[in-house]
Every structure is written in C-alpha cells, then in structure tokens.
C-alpha cells in the first residue's frame, strides 16, 4: 500500500492498542485485526518500530461473547471497542486515532460495564492488560515482589500467612492450602516436589487456560512461593496438551524467569534453588486426580491410588509432594504482597477470596468472570451474565462439571461458596458454570455428563467402571422412550452405591449430575418414562413438533430454518409442520423467537 499523505500525527503522543488474543479472541480473528492495525498505521506514516510497542497483545479479559475486543488508549484516554473485524479498523484509525473522535456505535455498550461491575478481580486483574509474553510487564506491576518478600521469612511464617488467608484449593475439593503445605513441609523425605495441576479437563471450563495465557508469571511466582514454603526444589506444571497457546506462553515465561534469576540456583542470593519443568498431558481426564497425575508424570498409566498415603507424605517418586491448582497458585503473589488479612476480608466466613468461573451455555454474556465468594447465583446469572439468551426462561445452572450437579431456578438466591454448593448436591469444582434454559432437557444433560465420566473412567475399580456403565444404559433407555417403572429408583440406588464404594474422586462424584437432576427435576424423568414425552423436546425419539397458532407471529423463521421442507408457511399465515416430512432435527424450534413451536 502506498503511503498516504501524512496526516497530522503530531497529536498522537501516547498510543496503545490492545487486542484480545486469548484462544477465544484468536478464533474470532484477532490476529487479522492486529495485522490490519499494523497496515493502517503504517500507511499513515506512523513508523513500524512504534507499532510493536503500540499493538500490545493481551490475554483473555473474559468477555468472549463480544470478541474481538480492542482498546484504543490515546494520550491516556481509553476506549473499548467490541465485535471488531479487520474491516472496522480503517475507520477507527481515521476517526479515532487521527481525529480524536471515537467511533461511537462500535464502542462497548452497557452490558460490557454490567459484565464487569459486579466482579472482583484479583487473578484476572492483569489478564488482558499486560503482555503475557513480556516478563518486564509483569515486573512493572509489582510482579515477583512476593518472591523477594518471602526469602527473609522462615518457611513456617510463609505457611502461616497462607493458612491465615483462608485460601482453599481451587481445583474442586476446597482443601485448605496452608494446611496441605504444613503437612508436606513436616513430612520426612527429600527431595520434595510441588506440582501445578493445569490438567483442566472439565468440559465447559477454561479458567486455568485463561490465567496461564493471560498472566503466566503469576502461576510461576505462586509455585516459587509454594516451593520455598514446603522446601521443594523441583516443580512440575502438568498441563493439557490441548492448550498449545498456554504451553507456549508458559515456556516463554519460565525461560524469562530463569534469565532474570527468579528460577534456578540460589534465587536472588537467598540460597534457595528452584526449577520448573513443563509436563504435557496425553489426554486422560482422570489425570486431574492427584495420584493419577503423579503416576502420569512417572510415566505410568494414569490410574489413581487409594489414599492414604496422601501425596503430601508419599507422592511423586515416593517423596512428599504438594499439588496445587493453577488458580490456587496464582492467588499466592497477591496474598503475600497484600497480606492474609486483606485476602480474608473478601468472601464468606469459610470461603475466602474470589473464584473464577467460566460462564457458558445458554446465557447472553458468555465468558470468564471472577467474583467474590458468597455472591448469589442470581447476581452472576442476571447482573453479570445478562440472563438467558433470547430471554428464554432460566431453568438451572450446572456447576462443578461432570462431578457437580444442577442447581434449579428455585435456588437462585443461594450464595456461591464451597459449603452451599455442596449442600445443594453440587460442588464448586474447578469453576465451570453452564446455564440452561427451558430448551435444555435435564435427563439428556445428566446423560451427557455420565457419558463423559463413563468414557474417562480409568477402569481400575469396579463400582466406577461397571456402575457408571449400567447407569448410562438406564439413562439412554429413558431418553429413547424405553424407560421402565422403577428406573429412577434403580438410578438412585446405583448412584449412591457408586459414590460410597469408588476409589477416587472421579467415581465418588460421577453420579452427582444424575442424582441432583433427579432431586430437582424428577418430573422430567417421570415425563420421559410414564408419558413418553421430553418436556424440553430435546430427546429425538420423543419429539413431536407442532406450531401453536395462538403464539405464532407468522415471521417465517421456522420455514427458513427447516432443512427438510416440512414447514409450510406464507406471509400473514401461521406455520404448519408436516409430520410425515419432519426429521425431528429441532431447527424450527430453536429458530422460533416466540416459543410458538411446542
């Protein structure tokens, strides 16, 4: 492109353009947007060497529904654009950057602010604001200060600080981090190990990936703190191979930290040696379980062992080992620099701090959120999430992934903390939060999760291997309209037995999705079995579509959506579905904005 006539660029003293390049952003085309900014700015004679500084790649800021998000910070004033494509870039450069007039109609709307207002950001504070591939960006915001702060302290003082903060494991079970460290630090045996569990396998969860992609140094700093506290000189990050970008950024971060002397021999002349190695997983959900993860690092089949002995006493290669989740570790630098009191002031009596959730499913504002413990489900779903898509009726929210359960709309005022969720038959889990509306069938949902756990069951213990298989067969039968009287009772009995007798956390929690949906949505199971009807019209074998002439607004969307020409419609006439042509795909049902298809 020939250089355009130089416009007045003298007014641009300080220009930063931030583009979201998390996995979500990249999939939405952020690289193309960055390239286009590069081309446009160059054509106006803003030199290429400035560009590198200007276009600042940031990690995930969580609002994936509106990707690609772009911040233009001109002379200290920041504006955020949403849903940006390369075609939009020219106008932004011309009107905003050169003339100082932001393109109003592309700026983020009130939902962007609503999405952020109720959140409390500790972990995600810097995600989306600093360059994750530049260690200096992290150091400039006070990074690695915590490491400097701990070295003059005795190890027990560090452990005491973490214990006083009330931090609990963010991987799901919620064990007190300080206590875990204390046990391991007192355990006999050398060397000791600290492992960062980044084997985020829950379908519908991507918190750990985003934290690593957005701020990898916070995780590394957390590992150094943990390593120092328990007396471990070696750390491992066990990470899913499905997260190539996170692995890439982590590798850069570890190399940079080593260059700066935060990792290696005699860190900051403290006499403490610490090194970190990345270990890529090989595709097994069960490896998120501590003992299975250890077996996998040792090069064995990733099968869990009976506990005790706990890894804190006998872990990796038989030595004392602490395994902490990504989010747990990333909390540590702030706890050390700001103090346990500060951290303990956030949250509820027993659940301290914040929790990151991946808010997904049938909700308007999907994305990554960080909220203080104890916030109500209602605030998350309506204030932050903006309610269900197309204003459908909110039915339930699933937390804790395949180990958790469904919480119905009637419990929407419930606070989100470890105990409350457990009490409702679900669990905190790693933080997936999948919202369901009236078009989601709860039996199908339970079947989905059980299919997953059944698939991922390692096969070592019988209750999990065979029990989940039998449960899945019963659920499949129900969704196919072949359910029998007594099936619900059988599911309950099997589920409770599996929970009691399985070896590891996977089996102990696998029946939760089924048990919790029976508890709250038993009528749906009964409708499938007794009446042969799927109330949400999801189960294919049970579907019969008809148009309600009363509700139909004659828009014709169902007619256009139908792939088998089964819908007849003319303008100003309600649509009609020909049952002989209908293939029960549900396209019309989903296309209808008025819920007129029953």
């Amino acid at each position: 492109m020939p250089a355009k006539k130089p416009t007045k660029t003298s007014g641009i003293k300080d220009l930063v353009i931030r583009v979201c390049v998390g996995t979500g952003g990249l999939a939405a085309g952020s690289q193309e947007v960055i390239d286009e900014f590069g081309r446009q700015l160059k054509s106006y004679g803003i030199k290429a060497d400035i560009l590198k500084k200007c276009v600042n790649k940031t990690g995930c800021r969580g609002f994936c529904a509106k990707d690609v998000l772009v911040d233009v910070i001109l002379n200290g004033k920041s504006e955020t654009y949403q849903l940006i494509t390369p075609e939009n870039v020219a106008r932004i450069v011309e009107e905003h950057i050169l003339k100082g007039e932001p393109v109003k109609e592309w700026l983020v709307g009130p939902e962007y602010h609503a999405f952020h207002d109720k959140q409390t950001k500790i972990l995600l504070k810097e995600c989306g604001h600093i360059d994750p591939e530049d260690i200096n960006a992290y150091i400039n915001i006070g990074g690695y200060e915590a490491v400097r702060k701990i070295f003059p302290l005795e190890t027990f003082e560090v452990i005491e600080e973490v214990r006083a903060s009330g931090l609990r494991g963010r991987g799901g079970a919620g064990f007190l981090t300080g206590l875990k460290w204390d046990l391991c630090s007192k355990a006999e045996g050398k060397p000791k190990y600290i492992i960062c569990n980044a084997d985020e396998g829950d379908p519908g969860a991507f918190m750990d990936r985003s934290v690593i992609e957005g701020n990898p140094h916070s995780v590394i700093e957390g590992m150094i703190i943990g390593g120092y506290a328990i007396g471990a000189n070696y750390g491992y990050v066990y990470i899913r191979a499905e997260y190539p970008l996170a692995i890439h950024r982590l590798k850069i971060a570890i190399a940079d930290a080593r260059k700066k002397g935060f990792i290696g021999k005699n860190i900051l002349k403290s006499g403490f040696d610490f090194d970190i190695k990345i270990k890529e997983g090989a595709g097994a959900f069960i490896c998120g379980e501590e003992t299975a993860l250890i077996a996998s690092i040792e090069g064995k089949r990733g099968m869990p062992k009976a506990k005790p002995p706990f890894p804190a006493y006998k872990g990796l290669w038989g030595k004392p080992t602490v395994i902490n989740n990504v989010e747990t570790l990333a909390n540590l630098p702030s706890i050390i620099t700001k103090g346990a009191k500060w951290f303990a002031s956030i949250g509820t009596e027993k659940s301290k701090g914040t929790k990151v959730f991946a808010l997904t499913g049938k909700i308007k504002n999907t994305g990554l959120i960080e909220v203080p413990m104890g916030i109500s489900l209602k605030e998350i779903i309506y204030d932050i999430g903006g309610g269900c898509e197309r204003n459908r009726k909110f039915k339930a929210v699933q937390t804790g992934g395949p180990s958790g359960g469904c919480i119905p709309a009637s419990h929407i005022d419930m606070p989100v903390d470890y105990e409350s969720l457990m009490g409702a038959g679900s669990m905190m889990g790693s933080g997936g939060m999948v919202v369901m509306d009236d078009t989601t069938c709860m039996v199908d949902m339970a079947k989905f999760f059980l299919t997953f756990t059944q698939n991922e069951s390692c096969g070592k213990c019988t209750p999990c291997r065979i029990g989940t298989k039998r449960m899945l067969e019963i659920l499949t039968r129900i969704t196919e309209g072949k359910g029998k009287e007594g099936d619900i009772e059988l599911l309950l009995e099997l589920g409770n037995d599996i929970k009691l007798s399985s070896l590891c956390g996977l089996g102990m929690s696998a029946p939760n999705p089924v048990l919790s949906t029976i508890k709250f949505f038993r009528d749906e199971y009964e409708a499938h079995i007794k009446e042969g009807v799927c109330p949400a019209t999801v189960c294919k074998a049970l579907r019969r579509y008809t148009v309600s002439a009363e509700l139909c607004k004659m828009c014709g969307k169902c007619f256009k959506a139908c792939p088998s020409a089964a819908v007849t419609w003319e303008k100003k006439q309600p649509a009609v579905i020909d049952k002989t042509k209908c293939i029960k795909c549900g396209a019309c049902y989903e296309a209808c904005p008025f819920s007129a298809i029953l």
């Binding site: 998390g22 996995t23 979500g24 990249l26 999939a27 939405a28 994936c64 529904a65 990707d67 060397p191 985020e200 396998g201 829950d202 379908p203 519908g204 969860a205 991507f206 990936r209 985003s210 070696y234 191979a241 499905e242 997260y243 190539p244 090194d275 190695k277 270990k279 890529e280 997983g281 090989a282 595709g283 097994a284 959900f285 690092i297 040792e298 090069g299 064995k300 089949r301 990733g302 099968m303 290669w317 991946a358 997904t360 499913g361 049938k362 999907t366 994305g367 699933q398 992934g401 997936g432 999948v434 369901m436 989601t440 949902m445 989905f448 999760f449 997953f452 390692c458 795909c585 989903e590």
Partner: protein
C-alpha cells in the same frame, strides 16, 4: 531418533534413579515419536522399549491408556468437534452428524484415503464461541449452517 534421557528429564535428573528417569521420559518419547510419524507403529514401539529398557508390554500398556496415542495411521486433516458442555448445549451433536454424513465416516475413524480423521475433543476452552470445531490448528467458532460448509471446504482443500 536421538533421545537424551538426562536432557529430557531436566534438572530432576540429580534426584532420581536411572530406571525412574527412563520411565519418566516414556510419555514424552511416545509424544515425540508420534509427532514425527503421525502414529505409533510396531517397530517404533519396539525401539522405544529397547532404548528405555522397559518391557514392550509395559510400553503398550502405558500408551494405550492415553487417548492421545494412536496405533493406526491418521488422516492428513484432523477434525475435532468439541463436545464440551457449552458446545453440547449449543448443538455440537448436529455438527458431528453433519460431518459424519458428509464424509461417510463415523466418529473416531479415518477416511480410507487417509485424507481426514474425525474425532471429538472434551473441551478446547473457548466455550464462549460454542459450538466449536478445529481442523488441524485452525479453530472455527459459533458454527451455524453457513460455517459448517466453511469447515467442509477447509477439510476438502489441499
């Protein structure tokens, strides 16, 4: 293949025994061999077994446990349909059905001409863009009927 066990295992080499080291690099070695050869042929498995001094049955036992490893050749294009929770509620099964019928293969299988392998993935972590599928490194989000054609073209493209 050159394999330096000490270098691969890293700093930890000071702390563990030779057999622990050899065992510790097994999964990494399998990953690297598969990266080079696209799957794990018999002769490669034997070579790994000999090099690391781990019985062949044991090498197979470990490799077959993990979903990432394959013992038959794979297609040039690896198509993964995400079936994570968010993608599931937003219609991942329809994406799968469409691809299965278009290429006349079942999930988990490879076309006879080795042009593509169709499989599912637990979650690739961009639930905000559900439903999602990947064609090799290329991610397609918010798949609707128009985007599915785009995927089919991308698979067919050389």
């Amino acid at each position: 293949m050159n394999l330096n066990v000490d270098e691969t295992i890293g700093h930890i080499k000071e702390a563990i025994s030779v057999s622990e080291k050899n065992r510790g690099v097994l999964i990494y070695t399998l990953q690297r061999v598969q990266q080079e050869m696209n799957y794990l042929p018999d002769h490669a498995m034997k070579m790994i077994s000999e090099k690391l001094g781990i019985p062949l049955s044991d090498v197979y036992s470990t490799a077959s446990f993990y979903k990432q490893f394959y013992f038959t050749p794979r297609g040039k294009k690896i198509v993964k349909v995400c079936t994570g929770t968010a993608c599931h509620v937003r219609g991942a099964s329809k994406v799968m059905e469409k691809l299965e019928s278009e290429f006349d293969i079942k999930e988990g299988k490879t076309t006879p001409d080795l042009s593509m392998t169709l499989e599912t993935v637990g979650c690739i972590g961009c639930c905000g863009l559900a439903p999602v599928a990947t064609v090799n490194e290329y991610i397609v989000g918010e798949i609707d009927s128009a985007k599915i054609e785009e995927i089919i073209e991308a698979i067919k493209a050389e």
